[in-house]
């Protein structure tokens, strides 16, 4: 519990209306996008300037009060849950887009800007921010940077860290520092900027960011390839890439997902197919045309029984709506979902898919594959019910084996969700102890009192 006198001090810093202490408010900040990670903070604080963040952190550091930064709370790792209580530092009121620099293709934003708001605003200038976590309707830039989020478009464009030129960050001591800058090239000493990207809020609080933007490509095309065998679909992914085409998205829907989508919104997906791959190419119209033909040719050669090229935008939208609905299909169908985030090198996608199938039979659970096949981030999901003890335990075992298999295949535990609380139990298992110690060293250097988002990643 926090001393009452400190609540008064916090109110002096951010204003009375920006400090919440009611039981209801604390409960409303006890969760994130996950189902089961729930823990209440002692107080909720909404700063509106970096100076306020600094003042709050100074108090927290002196009093050794845990501080958990939080944006939209859409993350799926438990990362923004205030696990050890203390202050939930909610950045949603720092939501100004400070500058859009059309000459340099950059934007300066506060951490509470919601990605979709940024997207809509910069689209007016024909610009876009490529990282596209599918929580874009609620996810804030501070969280996106702290989780180094990715999304479907990463096949071609990469993840968040490739689009952050600089940040302003408040250290646990209250010191405000700028890291990186506004230029594309920057090799002035250690690359400290990138230590904060994917630090999950354990090192400091990001209060401003300089984003790299790109011009919106003038043309797009969607291609759907149908497969009898889901592993063959997996093979097509790297075959297309090795044949010289880099689509901006390659998404995979397996038979289970196809059928749920057809139940919800029939759009003529082949219900007997083992899987479909959705490709999207973007760029100059002529190039997009050639690339789609190449994709059609390559996928046919490597086992697609049917290839459809979307006629127009409406037709294309239909497929992407279906992909989006896949998400709802998975979560709407069962009480509890383990949404795995393992990522393997693309050449190993078929192996991972086959392993999932094998485990589904072995443990008698439904394992659905619906993910960003293009970057090996497959999101196998296990459908279970936390109240059905036997089924739940079998699912946990299956999940453990999926992770082990992914790591054996040269992959990683998490591609884009982060460790947070959700993947803690695997973190130490799959990470070299020397590496863990280096991370802990960085942490204790920057945050000697361990106030920033404690209880996460390796604890």
């Amino acid at each position: 519990m926090i001393k009452a006198s400190l609540i008064g001090e916090l109110q002096n810093i951010v204003g009375k209306e920006n400090v919440l202490t009611s039981q209801e408010a604390l409960r409303a900040y006890s969760y994130d996008g996950t189902t089961n990670w729930i823990r209440e903070p002692d107080v909720v604080v909404f700063p509106t300037t970096a100076g306020q963040v600094s003042a709050v952190l100074k108090i927290a550091n002196a009093e050794k009060i845990p501080v958990t930064p939080r944006g939209g709370g859409t993350n799926v790792s438990g990362g923004s849950v205030p696990w050890l209580g203390g202050i939930a530092l909610v950045m949603t009121k720092m939501n100004q887009i400070l500058k859009i620099d059309k000459e340099n293709l950059t934007a300066t934003v506060e951490p509470g800007v919601v990605l979709q708001d940024l997207t809509l605003r910069i689209a007016k200038d024909r610009l876009f921010f490529p990282p596209d976590p599918q929580s874009f309707l609620g996810a804030t830039l501070g969280g996106i940077i702290s989780e180094n989020a990715g999304g479907p478009a990463c096949v071609k464009y990469g993840v968040t860290k490739q689009y952050i030129l600089g940040i302003e960050v408040v250290l646990p001591t209250g010191e405000i520092v700028s890291l990186g800058g506004r230029t594309l090239k920057n090799v002035v000493g250690y690359d400290l900027l990138h230590i904060f990207i994917s630090a999950e809020g354990t090192l400091g609080v990001i209060t401003r960011a300089e984003l790299k933007l790109l011009p919106i490509p003038p043309a797009k095309k969607t291609i759907m390839a149908v497969y009898d065998d889901v592993a063959a679909a997996g093979e097509s992914v790297y075959r297309v890439l090795e044949n010289g085409v880099i689509p901006d998205k390659i998404e995979l829907l397996d038979n289970w997902v196809i059928n749920r989508i057809e139940e919800m919104m029939p759009i003529g997906l082949p219900k007997d197919a083992g899987a479909v791959l959705l490709f999207e190419c973007d760029g100059i119209a002529e190039a997009v045309e050639k690339e789609s033909e190449k994709i059609a040719e390559t996928t046919r050669k490597y086992g697609a029984r049917e290839v459809r090229i979307a006629r127009d935008d409406d037709d294309a939208n239909k497929y992407w709506m279906a992909r989006k609905a896949g998400f709802a299909a998975v979560y709407g169908k069962t009480k509890t979902v383990f949404a795995e985030d393992v990522t393997v090198p693309r050449g190993r996608i078929p192996n991972l898919i086959n392993k999932c199938k094998e485990l589904a039979t072995k443990y008698d659970v439904e394992i659905v594959v619906l993910g960003h096949a293009g970057d090996g981030n497959l999101h196998p999901a296990i459908l279970t019910d936390v109240n059905n003890k036997d089924h739940y335990e079998r699912s946990v075992k299956a999940m453990h084996e999926i992770i082990e298999a992914a790591v054996e295949l040269g992959g990683v535990l998490s591609g884009e969700h982060g460790i947070g609380l959700e993947k803690q139990k695997f973190f130490n298992k799959v990470t070299n102890p020397s590496v863990v110690n280096m991370m802990k060293g960085v942490k204790s250097l920057l945050d000697p009192n361990n106030i920033m988002n404690p209880g996460k990643i390796w604890d």
Binding site: L20, Q23, R27, T35, G72
Partner: protein, 402 residues
């Protein structure tokens, strides 16, 4: 799974940016109530009250959570456990549930409204001494309420196609009686016999959505009785048509009520859908009133039409079809105007902020007039158009048609 996508669509969250404002927070806290871990504290009441019931979150929820039903059910449970509170008790049970009493109170207000200064035409704003409460503009209460002007039966002009009951609704009765008369003239002119049942009552929207199901049920039964044996029940108020259609969903406790309210629901038609779907009038065949010729018009979707009844194409078809009008779509046509019935009484500051966004949308169209089909929205749009010193006039769709 708590994805939080509702935050993008919630007009209240967009202003407040706090988790208790948004569907995800309300849903989570309500779940705790169901588990017995959360009480109906005053703060909880405040949180449940801070919802417009605009259903934008519902329309966009990947898991299809019916948060409107969650909120209304929680409010109802709170009324059951904690009572209604003195003011709502007085207004809902003593005034609104009693049609005659309601008329008397309205008449009393009408008699004293000269105390409030007039700004423009028929609009009044609160006098200076209570300006601290907000400088809100109210449309004037009518000199003669609709109930005192109508006849029980209006025969169809020409051969009679069907007989419908006209449900007037409180706002049309007290504020916009001309709108009601326009509806009657329009319907009879298209071969419809119109009955105006004398014992019809308030639809009960404010009562039902505040969770006073007992009073709402009383009103529902009154209305079921009043509108027996009529082919359709037609109203010019989007909130009324939607509420009449929702009796079954919210109020039915047994099979008998299920049947009774369901039967009523099947006959209720908002005037916009009645024109297009039932009378099957071609919009090109309608005649625009002279005074609107050459005007540019935009449409505001009332929540109770677009999301509660999925009525969005019909009014647009009419506006696009009317010769002499130019139609421009508003960028945020389906954004709630911020009224939310009694929401705007308790949270007028938030209402104004939400309405400001609506005003931006209206300005962007360059339209001369804003058209909608819900007197509730009309009252709020009118207030904010004036507050923003805009030139646009606000009309009900029916007012444009001869």
């Amino acid at each position: 799974m708590k994805c939080g996508f509702c935050s993008f669509f919630c007009p209240v969250y967009q202003e407040e940016r706090t988790e208790t404002s948004v569907a995800r927070g309300k849903n989570y806290l309500t779940k705790l109530i169901l588990k017995g871990e959360q009480e109906f504290t005053p703060e909880m009441g405040e949180i449940l009250g801070k919802c417009l019931l605009c259903k934008r979150c519902v329309a966009n929820c990947p898991s299809k959570t019916q948060i409107d039903r969650v909120v209304v059910a929680a409010r109802a449970q709170m009324v059951k456990e904690k009572g209604l509170g003195f003011i709502k008790n007085l207004i809902f049970r003593r005034a609104m549930a009693n049609r005659k009493a309601m008329g008397r109170y309205a008449r009393l207000m009408q008699a004293f409204q000269w105390l409030m200064p007039k700004t423009e035409g028929k609009v009044r704003h609160l006098p200076d001494f209570i300006k601290s409460l907000g400088s809100r503009n109210f449309p004037e209460l009518a000199k003669t309420f609709l109930r005192d002007q109508v006849k029980p039966v209006y025969p169809a002009v020409g051969p009679r196609k069907m007989t419908v009951g006209f449900f007037m609704g409180c706002a049309t009765d007290f504020v916009y009686p001309d709108l009601g008369l326009a509806l009657i003239t329009f319907l009879t002119g298209h071969g419809v016999e119109v009955r105006v049942p004398q014992y019809q009552n308030c639809c009960g929207a404010a009562i039902l959505f505040s969770g006073d199901f007992a009073t709402a049920r009383f009103l529902a039964d009154e209305n079921v009785k009043a509108f027996k044996d009529l082919d359709y029940i037609v109203t010019a108020c989007g909130t009324c048509s939607s509420t009449l259609k929702d009796y079954r969903k919210y109020l039915a406790e047994n099979e008998e009520q299920e049947k009774r309210y369901g039967e009523l629901e099947s006959r209720v038609k908002d005037v916009t859908e009645f024109i297009i779907d039932v009378l099957k009038i071609k919009p090109e065949e309608l005649t625009l009133k002279k005074e609107f010729e050459g005007k540019t018009v935009t449409w505001h979707d009332p929540c109770h039409l677009v999301r509660y009844q999925n009525i969005k194409d019909q009014p647009r078809a009419i506006l696009k079809g009317l010769k002499g009008l130019t139609y421009v779509e508003m960028p945020n046509a389906d954004l709630c105007c911020g009224m939310g019935g009694s929401f705007s009484v308790y949270h007028y500051d938030i209402t104004k902020k939400i309405a400001a966004k609506k005003m931006e949308g209206i300005k962007a169209t360059g339209a001369d007039i804003v058209v909608t089909a819900c007197p509730g929205c009309m009252i709020n749009l009118l207030d904010n158009v004036l507050q923003h010193k805009m030139t646009q006039k606000v009309y009900h769709l029916l007012e444009l048609v001869q």
